[in-house]
């Protein structure tokens, strides 16, 4: 490279000391080169000056997103932990928030479906329901739907309902397992809220903060509808925080509870737990048998077998 080609690197302080000294000497002796160096400095300053400095947005939702934990695999756990697995899964709550722009007349645009598998179906249903009411949009006002699902342990109070729309899911009753043991009641909640908000970004940030404050997280990917004017986010929060989080989310704007379900999963969980126990017991038996066989073969392989028959001298064909 000639001196002129290294002027920029010289200005940026990216040349080694020896080469920088050479360039500096050349600049001192050549006014045209000195003018070029000044021009490059001026140009660099101007580029920085005209380049916008966007204000960061999305830090809280990113914290919520990175807080996702990997799912628990039943297969990876020993049989002694099988019963505990059911309890862990049952305390997880899922919530999704759909933000969509809304016209000043109050009509709403369909939002993008929720990305996470565990809540995609109900969210799509809601979205389809609002599609028929789609009209002209305004950028100044936004709408939102939040969908939540949860499983929680609740005190028995009244028979559980598969779906209730009053926002107050039924409490489960105490049930018995196939062995006649009392089962801890478990309820899976699903709720959907549409919230009209002034700013999608601010609302998403506040929602993320609410969720992370209770050790919740984003489940699945947030999605944006085709026009980019609605955001769908699915959250998971601890079951015991479900009601509190729902109240906070509904305060983000002009909210409408679209759906709220409470499914009593106690019986199904009890059945799965019993099946798991049976499977693990069966597998343990198979493993024990195979371990014994392995041990036997291993011993055979480690000890050579030699059979000798000693016979008195002079005796022929003695047995």
């Amino acid at each position: 490279m000639n001196i002129r080609e290294e002027l920029k690197a010289y200005i940026d302080g990216e040349l080694d000391r020896e080469r920088a000294a050479e360039v500096e000497k050349a600049i001192e002796s050549d006014p045209r080169l000195a003018a070029e160096a000044e021009s490059l400095k001026s140009l660099g300053n101007a580029v920085r000056e005209i380049t916008p400095m966007p204000a960061p947005q999305g830090v809280e939702s990113t914290i919520a997103a990175v807080s996702r934990r990997p799912g628990i695999s039943f297969r990876s756990l020993p049989s002694s932990l099988a019963a505990g697995v059911v309890g862990v899964v049952a305390t997880i709550t899922v919530a999704s928030l759909v933000l969509s722009h809304r016209s000043s007349s109050g009509s709403e645009e369909a939002a993008a479906p929720v990305a996470s598998a565990d809540s995609a179906a109900p969210a799509t249903t809601i979205v389809n329901g609002s599609t028929s009411r789609k009209t002209a949009l305004s950028d100044s006002v936004s709408g939102a739907i939040a969908e939540t699902q949860s499983s929680e342990t609740a005190a028995p109070a009244k028979p559980a309902s598969q779906e209730e729309h009053d926002g107050h899911p039924a409490k489960p009753v105490q049930k018995q397992s196939s062995e006649g043991l009392a089962l801890e009641p478990k309820v899976a909640h699903t709720a959907a809220i549409r919230i009209a908000v002034a700013s999608l970004s601010n609302a998403e940030e506040q929602a993320a903060r609410t969720v992370t404050n209770v050790q919740g997280r984003i489940a699945g990917n947030r999605s944006r509808n085709s026009r980019g004017k609605a955001i769908t986010v699915t959250y998971k929060v601890p079951a015991e925080e479900f009601d509190r989080v729902m109240r906070s989310l509904q305060q983000l704007g002009d909210s409408k509870l679209v759906k709220s379900t409470a499914e009593d999963v106690t019986t199904e969980m009890g059945g799965i737990e019993a099946k798991l126990r049976a499977n693990f017991a069966q597998k343990r038996e198979i493993v024990q048998k195979e371990e014994e066989r392995l041990k036997y073969l291993s011993e055979r392989a480690s000890v050579a077998t030699i059979t000798i028959t000693f016979v008195p001298k002079g005796v022929k064909n003695s047995r």
Binding site: K8, I63, S67
Partner: protein, 179 residues
Amino acid sequence: MKRMDGYLHRAAKGDKEAMAQIVREHYASVYRFCARRIGEELGKDAAQEAFITAFKTLRRYNGSSTLLTWLLGIAHNHCRNMARKARTDITMDLWESAGASSGNFSLENALVDKEALRAALRRLSVEHREVVVLHEIEGLSYEEAALILAVPVGTIKSRLHHAFLALRKQLSPAEGVSA
């Protein structure tokens, strides 16, 4: 492999507090890096994806570069992928027209309209715009820019030289700027 700092080590093991600390410390830089390259909306998504990827692969971070440089390298890949999917051009919107006259600056004793500079920057090739953003705007060294773009340091040096040469040619065509 260098020994990881305490909170990096904890974050690599899935400690949520440590992860949040890393996000809070570096999010602004990563977000701005992404927003300047693919716009604020896509940039927000790219920044989030970059942190998710980073925590999935944090164990592979060996400390040979700063954590921010490593994060920006991941963000760079997400920006490229998102730009490709959205069929947009990296840094396309960065120097959009500011509308009415937005002032002048002096270039070789001549006053140059900043609007002309924006137009000149938009006309640079993607490779040249990338190095201009990384070095001039993000303030990264040639070595750091080289790590992010996975090219030799000499390539960064050459691209910056040619990028500024192109800018000067466009802004001072009568000067006959030579390489």
